[in-house]
């Protein structure tokens, strides 16, 4: 009994974590192999081996190019984005004690979109980094507004408070989406407008390697911050006041963790638009699988988020032959029913 408890508490029983890289690699290979033209897994592995300098077989240059420049970069960014968004949702759910909290529903994604579109249309710097900065500013503004609105409306913790902040998030989303539409209508050319609209729905089509230079560090940062604060996140189980009485510095913690969640969302929005529901579905599924302890929940959520988005991306490419759906459509098709389930279960409590 004691031995079992000790294992649980220290998290020494993490054998499954060794499987994580294997699962991730399998998902990435699958994501690279499947697409409009199916490329045999053997070819994929061959190309990757050559690119990694592990061989020098003669390659079909078209296959090699598709695999390396389009498919793999896209799969890697999808994995990082999935991990980042899922961790954002996990952090927001723990800190706000709200099972429905996630960047999309709280309007953070919409705010980030407005910020990114503003930068893109105005052409300030016009690069991924400046778009990310604009998205981050938009994300923080949106969260601050939504939090202030929820507070003014008397939202606390508990299911009523949970409802209030989600309503505030919906209001915020609508407002920022309207702002985005206004900016596009006012300032963008027809060509720009079409590109932006497609991107806004959540789209990984344009992703290339340079995007991963931002996405990979972001996912690593979100994972690192989450693991470092695993016990802090646990301490919020009985609410913010209880966390404070357990020695948590609320202001510092909330600023750091909500900042990280907003940054992760902003980076993903500037790369691939607003992809919804990943942050809602994945953490809940992982809670059921590995329990409420964040020492396990954080790595499990990161892994599952990565795999989920890679697979969603695959589905978005093959579900209608010859046509690529925005990935946000796929995640919403999975996420909306999950949202309903969480809401109904929340009511029964």
């Amino acid at each position: 009994m004691r031995a079992r408890a000790a294992t649980r508490s220290t998290g020494r029983n993490r054998g499954w974590l060794w499987l994580a890289p294997a699962v991730l690699v399998a998902a990435l290979l699958f994501g690279t192999a499947v697409g409009e033209t199916r490329i045999p897994l053997a070819t994929v592995i061959e190309v990757l081996a050559v690119k990694a300098g592990l061989g020098s077989a003669a390659l079909d240059p078209i296959d090699a190019s598709v695999i390396w420049h389009y498919r793999l970069s896209r799969a890697v960014v999808a994995a990082c984005g999935g991990a980042s968004l899922a961790l954002s949702g996990l952090i927001l759910q723990a800190l706000l004690r709200n099972p429905l909290a996630e960047p999309y529903l709280l309007g953070i994604s919409a705010g980030a979109s407005t910020g990114a579109v503003t930068v893109a249309v105005a052409g300030i710097g016009a690069g991924l980094l400046s778009m990310s900065a604009g998205a981050f500013a938009g994300a923080l503004t949106a969260f601050a507004l939504v939090a202030a609105l929820a507070r003014a409306a008397g939202g606390g913790t508990g299911m009523r408070g949970a409802g209030v902040i989600i309503l505030a998030g919906i209001a915020g989303s609508q407002m920022f989406n309207a702002l985005t539409a206004l900016i596009i209508a006012q300032s963008a050319s027809a060509e720009q407008a079409r590109g932006i609209m497609f991107w806004l729905l959540g789209n990984l089509s344009g992703v290339r390697w340079p995007d991963s230079w931002v996405a990979v560090p972001m996912a690593a940062l979100a994972l690192g911050v989450g693991l470092w604060h695993a016990r802090t996140l646990d301490a919020f189980a009985f609410g913010a006041e209880s966390a404070a009485s357990l020695g948590i510095d609320l202001r510092r913690t909330q600023a750091l963790l909500i900042g990280t969640a907003s940054l992760a969302t902003a980076i993903m929005v500037s790369i691939a638009g607003a992809i919804g529901f990943v942050g809602l579905v994945v953490p809940h599924a992982m809670r059921i699988l590995v329990g409420p302890r964040h020492a396990r929940l954080v790595p499990a959520t990161a892994l599952a988020g990565a795999v989920f988005l890679v697979l969603s991306d695959v589905v978005s490419r093959i579900v209608i032959p010859g046509q690529v759906l925005p990935i946000g459509v796929i995640t919403a098709l999975v996420g909306a029913p999950a949202f309903a389930v969480v809401m109904i279960r929340g009511r029964q409590r």
Binding site: P99, L246, G247, I248, D249
Partner: protein, 256 residues
């Protein structure tokens, strides 16, 4: 002797309105202080101030002689534990998970869980007689069991001071007595907010609050006179000695 916890003219204001005024109190190591007063008299606010969760608008709270405002949250949590009035969770955590939260101020990313933490949790579970239920889900616990788990969590925090905000609320009489006996067995300095005046008689000292002000402070048998009870709670009280020399009993009647 330095008081372990001290309030010096402490007040607390919300939107400019003072809801607690000029509270001065010196808590001696090892004593049990009862806080009584009608609903809304400021008991919970005083608890919040003493726990360092609220900042006094005037005056100061000192923990072991040092101003609370200059201590970090973690330093405070290693010395002082709070059992708030109602702390609930929707997380699917077990009794043991909840008690383990008490070790939070002693742990960090670079100070992982160790044998002494296991010992502290085991001792805390034993203290509240919940060791056999360590694996139970929070959602399956009764109100009394939840309160015991909260006290075990506070115990695992290894504090020198324990603050309990109406820990016997909503409990049947058996569990009320069990909780009070349990708290009496813990050898820490305790401040406990109470509604039942009979329970207050078990404390070494009581502080009586009304409308945010301290009305009386001292040993319960000296303080809880029929006159004071009439003034504070607007009821007529008669004190009936216990037939076998135990604590006396109150009989209450609405003022005519």
């Amino acid at each position: 002797m330095t008081p372990i916890l001290e309030a010096v003219g402490a007040s607390h204001a919300v939107r400019g309105r003072e809801i607690l005024s000029d509270i001065s109190l010196r808590l001696h190591p090892g004593e049990t202080l009862g806080l009584i007063g009608p609903n809304g008299s400021g008991k919970s606010t005083l608890m919040g101030l003493m726990a360092g969760l609220l900042r006094p608008s005037r005056g100061e709270i000192r923990l072991e002689g040092r101003p609370m405002a200059r201590l970090g949250r973690r330093q405070i949590a290693r010395r002082l534990a709070l059992v708030a009035q109602s702390a609930e969770t929707a997380e699917r955590i077990t009794v043991r998970d909840a008690v383990e939260l008490g070790r939070t101020p002693w742990l960090g990313p670079l100070r992982p869980w160790g044998a002494q933490d296991d010992d502290a949790v085991a001792a805390a579970l034993d203290a509240v007689d919940m060791a056999h239920m360590a694996g139970r889900d929070w959602a399956s616990l009764s109100g009394g069991e939840r309160q015991r788990v909260h006290i075990a969590r506070a115990h695992a925090q290894a504090p020198r001071i324990l603050l309990l905000d109406e820990p016997t609320n909503h409990l049947d009489i058996h569990h009320q007595i069990a909780i009070l006996d349990l708290v009496a067995r813990l050898s820490v300095t305790t401040v406990i907010a109470l509604h039942d005046l009979h329970h207050a008689l078990r404390c070494e000292r009581v502080m009586v609050l009304r409308a945010g002000r301290c009305v009386a402070l001292g040993p319960p048998m000296e303080i809880l006179t029929p006159a004071l009870i009439r003034e504070i709670f607007a009821v007529e009280a008669e004190i009936i000695p216990h037939p076998r020399g135990g604590r006396p009993v109150f009989a209450f009647q609405r003022l005519a």
